[in-house]
């Protein structure tokens, strides 16, 4: 982890930019009004870099890099809107969209926001087989068919609240969010703090009850940073 105390000059999509000490490419871009899609990254929680929606092209590097987890180096040339970067950003969103339920569980799903923003059309992949919903908890509705495995809820529960009820179990396409030992949430050691609901970008974890589905959650959503979702102007 870099501990430099000096600002770093780099270029983003050809524009000279200055990153504050410790800032990542994503943070510096956002501060300068450049929208790079991101789902697993959220302010205030540890960066995990798993969703890969925020990948950017860094000149001289073999593969794309997650802008949420990379700090720019002096004179680094970064491209967030090159064909190559956009291709992977959109493919990640399309892959995740292909496994979403037909109807979104919240109107401000971050996945939908970025998909609209990047003009990702109808996904071309067959959907996964979907898990059953879990309504065992009086306050929180669990519908993992909308889960994108970003683990923001795991980090919220384990690292922000230090409750450590939520885990990430199994592997590959079977990897799933679990409560304790894959128990119904209502029977788990969950204390209903709600941190995971605040963290969830897609509504897989929501306040229980019909009213919740009508009211956008109060977490910091991309539209607060980047304005309304709309097809990217070309």
């Amino acid at each position: 982890v870099s501990t430099s105390t000096e600002a770093v000059r780099f270029t983003l999509d050809g524009q000279p930019l200055e990153a504050r000490p410790g800032e990542t490419i994503l943070q510096a871009a956002r501060r300068n009004g450049v929208a790079i899609p991101h789902l697993c990254y959220a302010d205030g929680t540890r960066t995990d870099g798993n969703c890969r929606a925020c990948v950017v092209e860094i000149e001289g590097e073999r593969t794309l890099a997650p802008s949420c987890a990379r700090r720019p180096a002096q004179d680094m040339k970064v491209h967030s809107r090159s064909d190559r970067a956009l291709h992977s950003q959109k493919m990640v969103l399309e892959l995740l969209l292909s496994d979403m339920p037909d109807t979104a569980y919240r109107r401000d799903s971050e996945l939908d926001f970025w998909a609209r923003r990047l003009d990702v059309g109808e996904p071309r992949f067959a959907a996964r087989s979907q898990p059953e919903p879990d309504f065992s908890h009086p306050a929180i509705a669990v519908r993992l068919d909308a889960c994108i495995q970003c683990t923001r809820c795991v980090r919220a529960c384990r690292e922000v609240q230090v409750n450590d009820v939520i885990g990430y179990a199994h592997r590959g396409a079977d990897a799933k969010i679990v409560f304790d030992m894959d128990d119904p949430m209502g029977e788990s050691t969950c204390v209903a703090c709600g941190e995971c609901v605040q963290a969830c970008p897609t509504g897989a974890l929501m306040p229980a009850g019909v009213a919740a589905e009508l009211t956008p959650a109060q977490s910091a959503t991309p539209s607060e940073w980047y304005g309304p979702a709309r097809p990217a102007a070309v």
């Binding site: 969703c51 067959a126 994108i148 592997r171 590959g172 396409a173 679990v178 030992m181």
Partner: protein, 572 residues
């Protein structure tokens, strides 16, 4: 049952007042006692979680929910932390309350590429019928015995060139234990000059001030040997040492014996034939980076290698002339991804083997966040020879324009599959000749130059030199771990590609989207008679560009190769 306390109301009637009970699964006192007995006086450190899970699995044949809760209690972890690790590894059988535990004996039939060519699919079905309910027959990813395909592992006993009769005989005889092969003993290794490299060159296996010059000279020289990381990435070995040495101490070292690349069995060969040669290489590298602790991580599919190492490390410890670093022998639990160096480091720390983001690299931030040198077994295997005979002599082994030599694992449709020591730059055709030629009735059709990850090439490209970079790279392929799988006119490249994509999907850790979702969607697209080449191509580009680690980045290679080199197979 909720506990209740009885009070009397003013009218004298009993009032039932419910007291809250803790939520979640309670710790079963009996299970806790059993877990404590199994753990004995072993430390309860969280990095030992996988070792402790093994103790329970070994003793009970599975991991029951009550034991997992008890283990969490005993190790001061939460149930979620224990559960997510236990369910990550193939060799742990988590059984919830009310579920039926698996039968006491498991037969794992390898269904990776070489075994599938040899008829593993039919064998699995036949075994399921023949062995009945008392034995569990499961598919397994590559067990590292591709020279004996098809392989069925009965308990811990690998049955090579398996058929129903031989597997049934092993089951009926109760031959399900570890079979130790004949291997070179400490005395035999000493008799051929063993440990002279580490002993006479460094004077000790622990670095001292006086040795620094010698180490620096050796590192420069080793760099000239052309020795590269033979786990697959091919990074120059000596340069890794320089990176680690540049970091503040203490330093750690990891020996990656988690060989899992389908078609690869050369690390097992090294460990099961010349364990001391590997151990001497390990001491040389540990000395070069002044590592205080060495972690030897051996895949669970290699119990014989683990037992050999366990015995021979004790022999070394008893040798007074050698001052050793602390050596920790760790046991994998069935996860290909732990062969990826950062996944392996996570596993050593007792976690799910999910690769880390790089940078920072293990040389800066490895085991427990300390600078760590990670070496593959075969890389270490060659070090004593380089130190004794000189770097230039090792480099001279290569074919024209290539430095050094390595062990190739040759399997598939050849007469004598096996591990062959050969110069870097050798071709697939030459390796086929070395391995006794093609099987009778088979014509060379295609080959996988680097296991599941390195792509698939047609026989017309069989004269490309096999080495890191170079011509193979120009063809979008790589030699990786040196696993060369030969296909014949009885096979189709697209079937091989589907086999390895299934493998990647099964072995994906599930962390990043392009790999977790991309491998699953690829399989769905590849199962169709007619491939959507454009969509597979688009998907593959994103997987290669945006996945976190080499698994997801390499997974689309075989698909791309089929589209590019075998278009006629895709005509319907």
């Amino acid at each position: 049952m909720p506990r209740a306390t009885r009070k009397r109301s003013e009218a004298g009637l009993p009032v039932l007042r419910m007291r809250p009970i803790p939520k979640g699964r309670p710790t079963d006192p009996g299970a806790l006692e059993e877990v404590r007995a199994l753990l004995g006086d072993a430390p309860r450190r969280p990095d030992l979680l996988i070792e402790h899970l093994h103790r329970i699995q070994d003793a009970h044949g599975h991991l029951s929910a009550r034991h997992l809760v008890a283990l969490a209690t005993e190790m001061r972890l939460t149930p979620a932390e224990v559960y997510e690790v236990a369910t990550f590894y193939h060799h742990f059988d988590v059984v919830d309350d009310g579920e039926t535990p698996p039968p006491a004996l498991t037969v794992r039939v390898c269904d990776s590429i070489a075994c599938e060519l040899a008829g593993a699919g039919a064998l699995i079905e036949a075994l399921q019928d023949a062995l009945g309910d008392q034995v569990r027959v499961t598919r397994s990813p590559c067990v590292g015995r591709c020279d004996q395909a098809p392989v069925a592992v009965v308990g811990e006993n690998p049955v090579g060139t398996a058929d129903v009769a031989s597997v049934k005989a092993a089951v009926d005889d109760g031959s399900d234990g570890v079979q130790l092969p004949e291997y070179e003993s400490f005395e035999a290794y000493m008799a051929r000059g063993g440990y002279s490299a580490v002993h006479t060159c460094f004077g000790s296996a622990r670095a001292t001030e006086a040795m620094f010059d010698r180490i620096e000279r050796f590192i420069e020289e080793a760099d000239d040997s052309g020795l590269r990381g033979l786990g697959g990435a091919g990074f120059p070995a000596a340069r890794k040492w320089q990176f680690v040495r540049a970091e503040p101490k203490p330093h750690y070292m990891v020996v990656n014996a988690d060989e899992g690349e389908p078609g690869t069995f050369k690390d097992r060969y090294c460990l099961e034939t010349h364990p001391h040669q590997v151990l001497e290489g390990m001491l040389i590298a540990a000395c070069a980076v002044e590592a205080d602790d060495v972690f030897l991580y051996v895949r669970d599919e290699y119990p014989a290698a683990r037992e050999i190492l366990s015995r021979e490390i004790e022999v070394l410890k008893a040798w007074p002339e050698l001052e050793l670093p602390r050596i920790h022998l760790r046991r994998g639990a069935g996860a290909y991804i732990c062969g990826e160096e950062t996944g392996l480091i996570e596993s050593i720390e007792g976690k799910r083997g999910m690769p880390r983001l790089r940078p920072p690299f293990p040389a800066q931030n490895g085991v427990f966040g300390l600078p760590t040198l990670v070496h593959n077994v075969e890389t270490l295997y060659w070090l004593p020879e380089i130190l004794r005979n000189g770097a230039s002599s090792f480099a001279a082994n290569g074919n024209d324009g290539h430095d050094g030599k390595r062990l190739f694992s040759v399997s598939g449709r050849v007469k004598r599959p096996g591990v062959y020591e050969a110069p870097n730059g050798i071709t697939a055709r030459q390796l086929i000749d070395t391995a006794g030629g093609m099987l009778d009735g088979h014509t060379f059709y295609a080959y996988l130059p680097g296991g599941a990850s390195g792509g698939i090439l047609p026989a017309s490209k069989g004269d490309l030199p096999l080495d890191f970079g170079g011509k193979l790279a120009e063809h979008g392929c790589f030699v990786g771990s040196g696993a060369v799988v030969i296909l014949s006119d009885h096979d189709r490249a697209r079937d091989a590609a589907l086999n390895v994509m299934r493998f990647f999907a099964d072995e994906s850790c599930g962390k990043c989207t392009p790999c977790r979702v991309g491998t699953a969607k690829s399989i769905e697209l590849m199962r169709r008679d007619s491939w959507d080449r454009a969509l597979l191509g688009e998907l593959g580009t994103a997987m290669a560009d945006a996945s976190i680690c080499g698994l997801g980045q390499a997974a689309p290679n075989p698909v791309r190769c089929v589209i590019e080199y075998f278009p006629e197979e895709l005509e319907s």
